[in-house]
């Protein structure tokens, strides 16, 4: 717990991203414009992704059809679980959906899993290493809406592209303007469609962000209790294992569902 600022300061500090921006984007010395980068989110998510996907690619390159090694077996188990979900839900043919679902599940899971490291361990270690005791650094990238929106918008773009590719431009436009009420009510159909399409990425990203942000907040509040945090942190941590897995799974599952909706006719 940082000494200055009291409880509010401690919480505030833990919820502040390490932001960098050009001087022109600063308002009162704080980065607030659009051209701001959250270095912590970018670094942690990128390093985690590179490590975990590099490891998976390495194991996959050595994959054999014979008796699999322990690592290959584990990766196959995870990938097989995701693939089973894709097979059950997505009935079209696509080389993209399964890799996309695997990426989402694995990446979101490892980023969420950063939440299981006690809230002060890594920030304090980093502050000690850099010598800057006011350095803010959020270690759970999924508590940054920039990340969740980036993912959900990417999924949104891919689903639109998939709809166009599978159905063709004419059929896609027909669906946008003539379903469900017929071509005579084209504006209403279009409005419905827009609301439906926009609601998806927003709900997708806010669900993950909200759950992880709230979970992180509870960890921070528990960490404020001094010695009493010991009996409280463990149960919440155990419960959180469920949440991080569930959120990764839900994000992946909904992505598959959106892809399948985009690829199938209404």
């Amino acid at each position: 717990m940082s000494a200055e600022g009291g409880t509010a300061g401690y919480i505030q500090h833990h919820l502040t991203n390490l932001a960098v921006c050009a001087d022109s984007a600063k308002v009162d010395g704080v980065c607030q414009g659009f051209w701001t980068f959250h270095l912590d989110t970018l670094l942690v998510s990128g390093i985690l992704g590179l490590v975990v996907f590099g490891l998976m690619a390495m194991l996959a390159s050595k994959a054999t059809a014979g008796i699999p090694s322990g690592g290959q077996n584990f990766v196959e188990m995870v990938v097989g679980l995701v693939d089973q979900q894709v097979r059950d839900t997505f009935h079209g043919r696509s080389a993209l959906v399964t890799p996309l679902a695997i990426t989402i599940f694995v990446w979101v899971f490892v980023m969420n899993a950063m939440d299981l490291i006690p809230v002060d361990f890594l920030p304090v270690a980093l502050q000690a290493a850099t010598g800057n005791h006011h350095l803010p650094f959020k270690f759970v990238p999924t508590t940054d809406p920039n990340l969740t929106f980036a993912m959900s918008l990417t999924v949104f773009v891919i689903s639109i592209a998939m709809g166009l590719k599978v159905k063709g431009f004419g059929h896609f436009m027909h669906e946008v303007f003539a379903v469900p009420f017929g071509i005579k009510l084209a504006p209403i159909n279009f409005l419905f469609r827009v609301v439906e399409e926009i609601a998806r990425p927003i709900s997708l990203s806010l669900r993950l962000f909200g759950n992880m942000y709230a979970g992180e907040m509870v960890f921070i509040l528990i960490a404020l209790l001094g010695l009493y945090q010991l009996p409280l942190a463990l149960p919440w941590e155990l419960f959180h294992i469920l949440i991080i897995t569930l959120q990764a799974f839900v994000f992946m599952m909904l992505t598959i569902v959106y892809m399948s909706m985009a690829a199938e006719s209404h």
């Binding site: 980065c31 970018l42 996959a60 059809a65 196959e76 890799p99 920039n146 918008l153 990417t154």
Partner: protein, 156 residues
């Protein structure tokens, strides 16, 4: 909650990781898993085939065994029959041989009897002549009575 350019950076990361998974993670794993599935299916099919073949072989061996038993029983019966036949034949042969021997012996006995009779005839004549000679020493002339004695010899 402030949305800023981090979004773009994160989208780039996301795209990169999707690309890595799509190119380097999923295809080799999918191939390995599919290959393994095929291998397992093949192995199971081979096991099934082997089992079936084994069943067939067991059936064949049982058939062969039964056939061999039948054949051997037939052989034994045939051999018994043949033995019976041989015994019968031998019996017949022995009987014929015995009959022949008996007949031979009988013929020999007859011959012997005939010979003895012949000898006896000759001896009787001599004895009769000797007796008569003794009795009729004086008046009987052997040469005179030879004709009569010859007739007597024939009658005997």
């Amino acid at each position: 909650m402030n949305i800023n350019a981090t979004l773009i950076g994160q989208a780039i990361w996301f795209g990169l990781f999707i690309w890595i998974t799509m190119k380097y993670v999923w295809p080799p794993l999918q191939k390995a898993m599919a290959d393994r599935q095929a291998q397992i299916a093949e192995g199971l099919a081979a096991a099934e085939r082997g089992k079936h073949e084994q069943e067939l072989a067991a059936k064949r061996s049982a058939d062969a065994l039964r056939e061999a038993k039948e054949k051997s029983a037939e052989f034994v019966a045939q051999a018994e029959k043949r033995a019976q036949q041989i015994v019968e034949e031998a019996k017949g042969n022995a009987k014929v041989e015995a009959d022949k021997i008996v007949a031979g012996a009988k013929a020999e006995i007859e011959q012997e009897v005939e010979r003895a009779k012949q000898q006896l005839r000759e001896r009787v004549a001599e004895l009769a002549v000797a007796g008569a000679e003794k009795i009729l020493r004086k008046e009987i002339n052997a040469s005179v009575h030879a004709e009569m004695l010859g007739a007597l010899k024939q009658d005997l």
